[in-house]
């Protein structure tokens, strides 16, 4: 196959005839949308056909960092960015399907009304996807005009804050087509109630004390609960979650990720009933877990026993709320029950070689018939522990243990 080299500047690559202007509008749009937005607008000078091509771009990404002049004048840069975005949106003509704002400047989202004007424009232009990313120093409340963007399918909010009268419940209710909701670095002082049968992907990461989720058709569920470092136990921090019912309701889920302190909030009761093959499509599990804590270990076992198609497991290990003396939880699992029949790859991070961790590893290696790789990231293991680890019996001949 001949791949001819066309370098950027050295060779004068002059095309004999116009190869780009006659591309279908949708393709030109796509190319423009791949450009930093400033450069996309400048195509207005190329030729008459290109004069307003930029003005009908369907996917807009405004990045504050693209406007850094490098002369250290933050306020100046912020001004130019605001002016650019204002002008662009006022001259833009046509549907806007995706809008992204990536900023870290102070006052960007709170004062001056800019974000409200922009959201208003978007709500009038059929917006489907919104990404608002700011730094944790510039937290913002969800503007209420979000609630009139009824075509929204995908919302990504970083560093927003939920206070009284500003609820996710309303957002979800006013967007009947919402399929993806991602909240990162969230602070919520309020109740979080999310009821949706359309929602497919949900991420909630941040500080919150209440979570009531009814989203049974999720394919991806990611929850990470951050607590103040001196908090001992999530339950004593007056957290109120319906976590157990939520997890048990996710029959279509393909990927579950539970990190931070969230596993400390699981209630025992629901685990007593054991439905068969609950999670038929679950292939990926990632947990931040203390394998030696019976409550957390029970949840992990519940997931493993009910996910017959499980392929990838990632465990971020800790030893918070450990029980003394350690219990023989993983050793006492009935070896006839094949928990890991399709598991290919397992990662264990912060492995310390504790009793429970070794017990789990032993069970995994003995049980998983198609296991290929176990990656263990450790914080300095005793040589004897390492030796014994590597000597553990492996049912899968191809199982490889990689210690990092």
């Amino acid at each position: 196959m001949d791949h001819e080299f066309s370098p950027a500047k050295t060779c004068k690559s002059v095309a004999d005839e116009d190869i780009i202007t006659n591309l279908p509008e949708a393709l030109k749009d796509k190319i423009l949308c791949c450009l930093p937005i400033k450069y996309a607008v400048r195509t207005c000078l190329l030729s008459r056909s290109w004069r307003y091509t930029w003005a009908s771009m369907t996917e807009l990404m405004f990045r504050r960092s693209d406007f850094a002049s490098g002369n250290g004048n933050e306020k100046d840069d912020a001004c130019r960015f605001l002016k650019f975005t204002d002008m662009f949106l006022s001259l833009h003509n046509g549907p806007i399907l995706k809008f992204g704002l990536n900023t870290q400047g102070i006052e960007m989202l709170s004062t001056g009304g800019h974000i409200y004007r922009w959201m208003l424009k978007l709500s009038r232009n059929g917006i489907k996807e919104i990404h608002l990313r700011t730094s944790v120093l510039d937290r913002y409340k969800i503007p209420s005009c979000f609630f009139s963007c009824d075509r929204l399918e995908h919302v990504y909010l970083r560093a927003c804050i939920l206070t009284r009268g500003n609820s996710l419940e309303d957002l979800v209710a006013s967007c009947p087509n919402l399929e993806q909701l991602h909240l990162s670095k969230l602070i919520s002082m309020n109740h979080i109630n999310i009821h949706s049968t359309k929602l497919k992907m949900l991420t909630i990461e941040g500080h919150f004390q209440h979570l009531n989720l009814h989203t049974p058709y999720l394919t991806s569920a990611v929850i990470k609960l951050n607590l103040k470092p001196d908090t001992n136990d999530a339950l004593t921090a007056r957290c109120n979650f319906n976590l157990s019912q939520f997890i048990a309701s996710l029959s279509d889920v393909e990927n579950i990720r539970l990190h931070g302190r969230i596993l400390e909030c699981v209630e025992h009761e629901f685990l007593i009933r054991k439905p068969q093959k609950l999670f038929n499509r679950l292939t990926d599990i990632s947990l931040e877990i203390n394998l030696g804590n019976p409550k957390e270990a029970n949840l992990a076992l519940f997931l493993f026993s009910n996910a017959s198609d499980l392929r990838f497991i990632c465990l971020k290990l800790n030893s918070r709320n450990s029980v003394v003396p350690p219990v023989h939880f993983w050793e006492s699992i009935d070896s006839h029950v094949c928990l890991f029949q399709n598991v290919h790859a397992v990662g264990m991070i912060n492995f310390t070689g504790s009793f429970a961790e070794l017990g789990f590893l032993k069970l995994l290696l003995e049980d998983a018939p198609v296991l290929r790789k176990v990656k263990i990231r450790n914080k300095g293991l005793d040589r004897n522990v390492l030796k014994n680890l590597l000597k553990m019996r492996r049912t899968s001949k191809e199982a490889e243990i990689v210690i990092l």
């Binding site: 095309a15 791949c34 930093p36």
Partner: protein
Amino acid sequence: MAATTADGSKVVGGGEKSNVDEESKMITLFSSDGERFEVTQEAAAMSQTIHHMMEDGCVDDEGVHLPNVGSSILAMVIEYCNRHVASPDEKEDIRSFDAGFVNVEHHTLFDIIRAANYLDVKELMDLCCQTVADSIKSKSVEEIRELFGIVNDFTPEEEAEIRKENQWAFE
């Protein structure tokens, strides 16, 4: 696992039987100039267009005719799909493959974009459009015109007017 023909003169693997061979799960594709390509169903399914045809049962014994895609471009698209289906987890290798893949003349790149659009291969579209965008990014207006053969049909007065109209974009 995938067998492709660059020149289409030989059929690898399939033979005279039905071209949707259940056992090796192959499918035949015909380019606009009649050349024949055997591809695994898995690689072909990277094209949402073909994937939907397979799902809807629209693929007959003959295979799929693609009147909008010439043989040389189809061969490249198939090469891309095969590579991406083969080892999707090896990110480094795939990245360097992609970089080499788009290292072609612009008019070829646009042909691939059109084909990827018709066949609805999202990853290939994204890759090629980003490549075109990257080649525009650092250039002046005049350089961009040269690169793509765009004829400047503005009068000097028009140009000046546009610069004023969009001054905010040039600050």
